[in-house]
Subunit: 362 residues, 4 copies
């Protein structure tokens, strides 16, 4: 059956999104003979009639190694709770999901691939419940989605964070400093855990294991003697301090720029005070989301895009692709949204890290 399918990307940036777009376009065309169009700006663009982008072979050829998404992605725009300005000037939240459905129809799309995080999957799932033909590609750089072993973007984030640790280490060593590096991970500490082990950190602080700042200070004291005077601490942005105010705002709490930062500076200041040490804090921030995807992320994104087109051929609406061991499998979006994958404080990786001498501040 000749089909015309659409693809949109939603939520935060992740290296590999463009590789998904490329794989969807190539697979649909080569394997099934379908036409593919890109929809700009995610579900928000879909609702508001953003322009579409034809995706012939020549258009997607160079996307494999390119960071970001050529379709744009926004962190807003839920058709089920859409904010509009009423005639009296007040803001009102309305359900415009039928407009989204209508728009899919108007664009003459037989099916839609939605690549995004849990927010995007939740919208997609609700639209599927209304009859839309949507399959999903999961995206979360934090690696906290339960139904898939890993998602694209995570490997690139680990590489960026580990290379940053490598750089900080030479300065830490030369200047006998304690270097704190804050990485992404609001709810799960995967990036901190993996980059911390790979980058030779002395302490790793993650949301799943609340830390005692005095234990961290004690570890640093030991480490500084053993390592000729320096120490490396990786802190996930969602790390929780026992008995403490969890965050340390930079700038104006209410402003856009003011939101960045937090626990890294908190840990830095407390260690500086407790140890009378030379402490420096680095917040990796958006560097972790950008740049060219690693080969592994290019491969996984390609596998996901390819499998999503197969899901459409199988008419498995409401399913998204996932990685299980070495296999790409379909899982229900509803399942994927429900569960968060957290680091197991008693699991193999944490236990190994402790055996190597890494402290979790406990």
């Amino acid at each position: 059956m000749k089909r015309r399918i659409g693809i949109l990307t939603g939520g935060g940036d992740a290296p590999g999104l463009n590789a998904v777009i490329r794989a969807v376009a190539l697979t649909a065309r080569n394997k099934y003979g379908w036409e593919v169009v890109g929809i700009r700006e995610g579900f928000d663009g879909l609702m508001h009639g953003a322009s579409t982008v034809p995706l012939p072979k020549g258009r997607v050829r160079d996307l494999l190694a390119r960071g970001g998404t050529i379709l744009g992605a926004v962190n807003r725009g839920n058709p089920f709770s859409h904010t509009v300005i009423a005639p009296d000037g007040s803001e009102q939240v309305v359900d415009v999901s039928d407009q989204a459905l209508q728009r899919i129809h108007d664009l003459d799309l037989d099916a839609l691939v939605a690549a995004g995080g849990d927010g995007t999957m939740a919208i997609a799932q609700s639209l599927v419940a209304m009859g839309a033909k949507i399959v999903g590609v999961p995206k979360t750089i934090d690696n906290d989605l339960a139904m898939t072993d890993v998602t694209f973007g995570f490997d690139t984030a680990i590489l960026t964070a580990t290379e940053a640790l490598d750089k900080l280490q030479t300065t830490a060593e030369s200047h006998h400093r304690i270097m704190i590096m804050e990485v992404m991970g609001r709810d799960a500490g995967w990036i901190a855990l993996y980059s911390g082990i790979a980058g030779g950190a002395d302490a790793i602080l993650i949301p799943e294991i609340p830390f005692d700042i005095d234990k961290v200070a004690a570890k640093m004291e030991t480490t500084r003697i053993g390592r000729r005077g320096y120490g490396l601490v990786v802190v996930a942005e969602g790390a929780a301090m026992l008995g403490g105010d969890q965050h340390y705002y930079i700038g104006d709490k209410g402003s856009a720029a003011g939101r960045l930062g937090g626990v890294g500076y908190l840990v830095g200041n407390l260690l500086a005070d407790k140890l009378d040490a030379d402490v420096r804090v680095t917040v990796l921030g958006h560097l972790q989301r950008g740049g060219q995807p690693t080969p592994r992320d290019r491969l996984l994104a390609t596998q996901f895009g390819h499998a999503a087109v197969d899901l459409i051929a199988q008419e498995k609406w409401g399913y998204m692709v996932a990685l299980r061991g070495n296999d790409i499998v379909p899982v229900l979006m509803t399942e994927a949204i429900r569960h968060l994958k957290a680091v197991d404080p008693a699991g193999d990786m944490v236990r190994m890290a402790r055996d190597l001498g890494i402290s979790f501040g406990t």
Copy 2:
């Protein structure tokens, strides 16, 4: 029980060997309180009384990101078939395995970690059969060991090969050339397959799928038109041409330097002739084995080293560590040696590559 354990590395170089050494030393010391010594030059060094290296914490601290092995590794030296010069000047092959056993005893080692490829595992296994207390860490950059999903060094090789493809692509595109890149993989095409997909190759030639050079030429002809005149071909060094002399020696077949190269030049010359095209050949060679390990390889090597020490604690002599899904598991060395893990010509990855439009020359 207080123990003194040894570690040696054998076979070809692979990024991550030093991270294994570090993990063994740290785990033995921190978790079990054991002493660790390094034995230089693998089993060859063990037999010949090569000097040992104490491995305290300070000695292994900087090894995580360092390529190669500080213990040295040689591709020769089997105690079971050792070549000696007889008094009459003739070469004789003798079994000196009892010397190796004696040397382990003389060094006062309670157990030994042997990190290496199938040759190293075979020797280790035979020594275990004679009563030696050895556990193994598998190492093969080609990823062709059956009992483990993946080994360290493979991810770094993929990164090096993919980055090289990225570089070749810009020149191929600017000059409308066909670029051939030969990568490692004597018996299995994993590196070619993974880097070829991740690097956007038009054709991938691997040992598991004998190729028809006319089919490759036909693909290139199509590609050159579609891609504004260029094409990328990745060739595993063990790729087999249908009906052809398999290799194309460079230099003197018998000499050390003359062994390099082969099928890449063969494919290049044939395509140049058949297509009257501008063709260039690049042989990646040893670049794939060197350099800093990727974070993923540092992590896997660390997991392997850590688990090997646990195997010693459990006295599982003759076992080696392996990766299965997300778990590190022990497998019998005898099992690991017996099976080669080849690319499945009908498997998911090859099928996906074909769907994307990649040719395997068939």
Copy 3:
């Protein structure tokens, strides 16, 4: 004449310091047959009798590509104004420069190479005035030393900053954001200027050209339309805003960790307010000082180390090496300290940047 010379490193970290140490050791030994010892922790270590490090060939072999300094470096310790605790518990500043001279004598050093910034050069110069035999190697990652075209570490900092901009750009483009990146440069905007041009920034804010935040906002407004909605701003940490409070402290002004950041957040907050835009701020911080030096920095550091030994052979005490065009030349330390090399607001590079469409906020 057989000599025994010492080398010390002072001030902030810079990629290439280890390459200087290597070049000094190899040149002294190979060319002149001299012995070389390293003095730990700069002039502070010299005064306090820090241990010395013999530097034979085998010790310096692997230093070329290694970041930081194996000798350690501290940002304190001036023998001419040394703080001591008096018997009554009060702090006193005393001149202990004669102790430094004595220590050079006690270590049996015929001459000393001091690698460091203007602080280190100032101390060295004063000691030379007292009779010490010292030559200098200039080090400033900010590239603000007047007497040399460029110093090692600068090229590596530019690479790190440009790669970071490349990463931020993909996210900026995908999310239609304004990304602010704060780089080093307290008194001179070289890193911001060079990385900004090389990384495709839309605006570059440097100390030499005070900026009007409304002009920056106006540029961003134009840029966002032209570039499908995103913009990149590079801000030197010493950039000065017209009519504004110059800095924006993060955390506690008095604490160690609290010192980081500043004008980047200030610009970010103001732009977010003025444009109602999605703005993100990244502070590169210590990432710019760390890591492996680029080939160019390895080469320049090697040239400097080599030339410094020649200066000793010529007994040019009080001179330091410098780069002029393609030549390494000796300059008086006193000259070098006196002048700062600032970006010329009317110079070729700024003019070119303006021609390309880059705004300086004026």
Copy 4:
């Protein structure tokens, strides 16, 4: 005066060509208000009526970091000696330069920027002599153009070669091998010299200093003992052996693929024979020409493109831009073509390399 100018790229690939195109387009538009069109496939495309490419801001925005040239480049196509097939089937060489002039007129171009090597400059110069309004941007990755201190692409080539050396070193060290790396440099040894020093080579063989293979072998013998058994040799492809057949062809001399390689394998085979050592040869080849330009090359390419547009405004036909110290200056193309810039065997850089213990095989 409102103008419409063209730009073409010729000769071999070099990282930075796209940055030149971008700088020409942005400068022409922003500074002068001119229109810019790209001409595909160099002078060959100009003659044969290849399609032109409009270069508005949106088209050139992403070119700064992109390798290769979007305009294509060919190594053939001289209007002054053009090969045509005569009616009788024979090949004839004819002068079609008037067609090239006519084509410039037909395209309504007021002036032309020609970016390329000495071949491209020679054609441009001859056309200028016939009345064409052309300015030049020099491009030679080998850095062998006399009138400019350096050209773009060279820094990227050095980075690629040095990173490759870093990788080979870990294997060389682990396996006690001699590693040979052949780099570009047919007539001048700049890449070998700079990457060899920056990468810690033990011997560097360049065209300017004919080498004695026995001297190289003797150096390797010494080095292997001192360095625990390994050595690194960098060989320029044009290196000349004293008393020897200069080249060592790989494959069929006459074929396209067969041209690659040469002296690297020759040196490798001879050292393997003379030393009974384990020797491996790597030919970097086209990896050196590809990939993203370094920040320094992006900057220089941008400066060149910007200055070329200024040359047009000044109507300096027959001039090309060049780097002298820190200045961009105009030089006559005729001057630039005449002189090759070779490494001075008695110059500072070679002398320093010798002082560090590097052998040139003499």
